[in-house]
Amino acid sequence: MTYLIGTGMTGGYGGTDILHNCSITAEKGEIAVIVGPNGAGKSTAMKAIFGMINIHTGTVTLDGEDISVLSPQARVAKGMAFVPQTSNVFPTMSVEENLEMGAFLRKDDINGTMEQVFDLFPILKDKRSQNAGELSGGQRQQVAVGRALMTQPKVLMLDEPTAGVSPIVMDELFDNIIEVAKAGITILMVEQNARQALNIADKGYVLVQGRNKFTDTGEKLLNNHEVRKSFLGG
């Protein structure tokens, strides 16, 4: 049974549809990556799965349960977590407070989860009392991912996590993401850096104009001649 399924999704922000019969699925503990040219509807597809935009056709199911009509907040409670591309931290709050806010819905002890986040991102432990707004771009992304992990999600969705960070930090972030997936969390990620992202992906989706163009394992997509020529620069 596939864990997260978005099938036949059609919809957009207002009048015109951006997604056309678009399908995205991911198994438990799998890394699924959505790539494609600018304006292909990559982020829109992810937002549709998270309920941030309305789809008038198609369904989204999580662990067999239809969640198509739930609000994003309700989907968070169901075990989905979303890291937006920009303004994804609380800038005037400390790293620790950012993580606490991530766990706002939880009533149990969150210290264990916070230690896990600090194990994953050791630098955050040193900076725990510093304001998130004062951190570097890469560290801020770590806070953003950490905040999302605080709900102990089953699905983690990342909208271009490596936008605007240096190549070294990007590699580090990808390593972190693989680690998160190893813990059994399903990762759905939109990426500009298609080549690197497909390298770590179990499954890749190439979207063009809101439609599925290619769907395959990350490795096969990397070796696919047409994908290479069109999207990966040869």
Binding site: Q73, F82, M101, L105, R147
Partner: protein, 337 residues
């Protein structure tokens, strides 16, 4: 040497003590404005009249207590009436929110719409207050008047000048201090307080984290009611209560909040003192002070007053304009206006 001591005492009596008291009142008012700006994201023009509303209820209850001979001895009876003023103001603000602001929140209105709505509430409030208590001056301070009298201090120190501290001034400072400490504890240490800061920082992310906007908004209005009623009552005890004066207070309060950095409570407090000290120092006649500091025949003939007290609001205006021109985010880097 004695002249320098006298000069210092003179300045303390006429500038420092009144400015600290006035600054504390402005600070409490400005924190209320800044909370609304940071969390509900609009400039609340009804804040001065909210202060007047709270103070009015406090005065009514003060009269009630006085009629039954209930008092606090040396402290003003108004302190006893304060909780009632706060409760009524909370009810009033929450009703306003339900009837007016909620409507715009659901429609995701732009901040300027809220601002105009708050101007509307300001006028309605203006009318309600004048209808209930009238437009005239009300003095409701009772109990002891002074903590330290200038005369006693002169005798004690054997100096020509003395410092008097009114009960209302001492009360203002102590109350403001306690309120600010409790407020900061609330915002920085409690779950609800932190969720309010998170909501102020990044509304979308706060929603994604499961923070309930309704609860944040309600708690904000409750805090604003508490702060406004306390600030208004302290101002009324220190000077007097007149609805028009409270409406006019809006300017120095907004100036304080903007100078400190809108949305930043710490900045609002600093801003309150900056405005109060500037206002009083620029309108104070320095003749006597200079007489103490210079040799006898250099004594100035004029009052050496930079601006007449009639122009005291001009001071807030000038500071406001300068800050907006050169540092729009304020001293403590709040949100730019």
């Amino acid at each position: 040497m004695e002249d320098i001591i006298n000069a210092f005492l003179l300045m303390s009596n006429f500038v420092f003590v009144p400015a600290i008291a006035y600054g504390s009142q402005l600070a409490l008012g400005a924190v209320g404005v800044t909370l609304v700006y940071g969390i509900l994201r609009f400039s609340n023009f009804a804040h001065g009249d909210t202060m007047a509303f709270g103070t009015m209820v406090v005065i009514l209850f003060t009269w009630f207590f006085q009629a039954y001979g209930i008092n606090l001895g040396p402290l003003p009876t108004a302190i006893l009436a304060l909780p009632f003023g706060i409760i009524f103001t909370i009810i009033f603000l929450l009703t306003c929110d339900k009837l007016v602001y909620k409507f715009y929140r659901e429609r995701k209105a732009v901040p300027v719409t809220y601002l105009i709505a708050s101007v509307g509430i300001m006028f309605v409030l203006n009318g309600i207050i004048r209808f209930i208590i009238g437009p005239n001056d009300q003095r409701f301070a009772d109990g002891e008047r002074f903590i330290i009298k200038a005369k006693e201090m002169k005798q004690l120190l054997g100096t020509a000048e003395g410092v008097s501290i009114k009960v209302s001034q001492g009360l203002t400072f102590v109350t403001a201090f306690i309120v600010v400490v409790v407020l900061f504890w609330f915002l920085n240490k409690t779950r609800t307080g932190k969720s309010m800061r998170a909501f102020s920082d990044n509304e979308d992310l706060a929603l994604l984290s499961g923070i309930s906007p309704d609860k944040v908004v309600t708690v904000t209005w409750i805090l604003v009611a508490i702060l406004a009623t306390i600030a208004g009552t302290l101002y009324g005890l220190d000077k007097s209560f007149k609805p028009f004066t409270y409406f006019m207070l809006l300017l120095p309060i907004f100036a304080s909040a903007i100078v400190g950095g809108l949305g930043n409570p710490l900045g609002a407090i600093a801003g309150g003192y900056v405005i109060a000290f500037s206002e009083i120092m620029i309108t104070y006649p320095y003749k006597k002070f200079i007489s103490y500091m210079v040799p006898g025949d250099w004594k100035p003939d004029s009052l050496v007053q930079l601006l007449s007290t009639d122009y005291k609001f001009a001071v807030s205006f000038i500071i406001l304009v300068l800050v907006l021109l050169f540092k729009p985010t304020g001293i403590f880097s709040g949100k730019s206006v």
